[in-house]
């Protein structure tokens, strides 16, 4: 068979895998943004307990390999507690938790980079801490954080390929299943790479557009 034919024949399966990869990335990153933001704010509050909790979370997640976390959630947890996780939900949890840990640090650094006078000015007008964060600090901080957040998104997209280890039919595993049958690893893995690139490059273009738009404001 010609290279092109091999790829075309595998394409429907690969696109289905790509759909799973995108789905899991989108869900996980939305959740991770929430968790990262909340824990990021925790990490700069006065409360030692909240700060400690946030720091412990970050240290543990960053200090262990993602593959181990994935295996732990999918195989480890159900063996001690009574839960039945699909590979998909285990994947969402793993990617969410992992991305959140890195986002906490991005949020913390981003918020800290805003001049202290901004918080003081907000509080002096009569805004609460939360209002000042929402109306004054975060709009400025998030703009500065966009490149780092996008970078983490890109890393997380690639990280989803590790979910092939628990049998989730995302893009990488879809590729593996095709060349296991037709022995055309070169063509199939090339196609897999191109599809990842398409996802990631689109995200980069979107981020550049977003940054330009925010720059105008």
């Amino acid at each position: 068979m010609e290279t092109i034919e091999v790829i075309l024949e595998g394409l429907p399966t690969l696109l289905r895998g790509m759909g799973v990869t995108i789905e899991i990335t989108v869900i996980s990153l939305i959740l991770a943004m929430f968790i990262g933001l909340i824990l990021g704010v925790f990490s700069i509050t006065k409360s030692k307990i909240l700060r400690g909790f946030s720091m412990a979370f970050v240290d543990i997640i960053r200090g262990t390999p993602l593959l181990v976390q994935i295996l732990f959630i999918y195989f480890g947890l159900p063996s001690v507690i009574d839960i039945d996780l699909t590979a998909f939900s285990a994947g969402v949890i793993a990617i969410t938790v992992n991305a959140a840990a890195y986002l906490v640090e991005i949020f913390r650094a981003g918020i800290n980079s805003i001049d202290k006078g901004q918080m003081e000015a907000g509080r002096t007008i009569g805004f609460s801490y939360a209002q000042t964060m929402r109306l004054i600090i975060l709009p400025q901080a998030i703009k500065r954080m966009i490149p780092a957040i996008v970078n983490q998104f890109i890393v997380s997209i690639k990280d989803t390929s590790l979910l092939s280890a628990i049998g989730l039919a995302e893009l990488t595993l879809s590729g593996q299943s095709i060349y296991a049958a037709n022995y055309r690893a070169f063509e199939i893995l090339f196609a897999v790479g191109v599809l990842y690139f398409v996802i990631i490059y689109s995200l980069s273009l979107f981020a550049r557009w977003l940054e330009r738009r925010l720059d105008v404001a």
């Binding site: 007008i125 009569g126 209002q131 709009p139």
Partner: protein
């Protein structure tokens, strides 16, 4: 009427005692200038008055409400006190008009058009109506500080606190900011102003407070303090700055 009463105020940062037993009463409509050497605690005193710094001891009453009472609604209380900073602290992601109207819209329930009307009035007062749609980065220092004053006034405060409002300005811009403050004083606004502008203090203050090393060393009318001080520390300080 007593607008502010400070009683036995103490403030320490760790082991460093910055304010040591401060007592002040300020009446409505009074303009008080606070002077003193760097590090004497002037900013800390001002910042304690709206709880940007938490006092270590003593009481501060704002229009009769004790700031350090556990149940105090600090956000409501701060709305009654405007504060102007040396570094302006305008919100760089908002236009001049948005800077001014954010508080009235979000905290006082004003509609956008009500808030904009108020904003235009205030910009007129500080001479910057034509800058309403400009971002702070495109303003000169003097213009920024006048916007900051307008922003504070937008909350219709009863008290205005100024912490060295002209110290970060090029000399040629000091006058325009002081003029806005003079106008406010003439309207009867109660103001506490930390300043190095002795000429301004002489002209506008009802009372001048001289602070040194965390104490109020001396206070009185500008004439009493600048021309007839008997205190050696006051005299040494004034001889350096006048």
């Amino acid at each position: 009427m007593k607008m502010i009463e400070v009683q036995n105020l103490k403030k320490s940062f760790g082991k460093l005692e910055v304010l040591k037993d401060i007592n002040i009463d300020v009446q409505s409509q009074e303009v008080v200038c606070v002077i003193g050497p760097s590090g004497s605690g002037k900013s800390t005193l001002l910042r304690c008055m709206n709880l940007l710094e938490e006092p270590t001891g003593g009481d501060i009453l704002i229009e009769g409400d004790n700031l350090t009472a556990p149940k105090i609604n600090i956000n409501e209380l701060r709305q009654r006190m405007g504060m102007v900073f040396q570094q302006f602290n305008l919100f760089p992601h908002m236009t001049v008009m948005e800077n001014i109207t954010l508080g009235p819209k979000k905290l006082k329930g004003k509609t956008k058009s009500e808030a904009n009307e108020l904003g235009t009035q205030l910009l007129d007062k500080v001479g910057l109506v034509d800058k309403a749609e400009v971002y702070p980065d495109n303003l000169s220092g003097g213009q920024k500080q006048r916007v900051a004053i307008a922003r504070a006034l937008a909350m219709e405060p009863h008290i205005m606190l100024f912490d060295e409002p002209t110290s970060a300005l090029d000399p040629e811009m000091v006058g325009e900011v002081l003029q806005v403050m003079k106008d406010l004083a003439e309207e009867g606004m109660m103001m506490i102003i930390v300043t190095h502008e002795m000429g301004f203090a002489k002209e506008v203050a009802d009372r001048v407070i001289f602070m040194d090393e965390g104490f109020i060393v001396e206070q009185g009318t500008p004439d009493e303090l600048f021309n007839h001080s008997q205190n050696e520390r006051t005299q040494v300080f004034l001889s350096k700055v006048l």
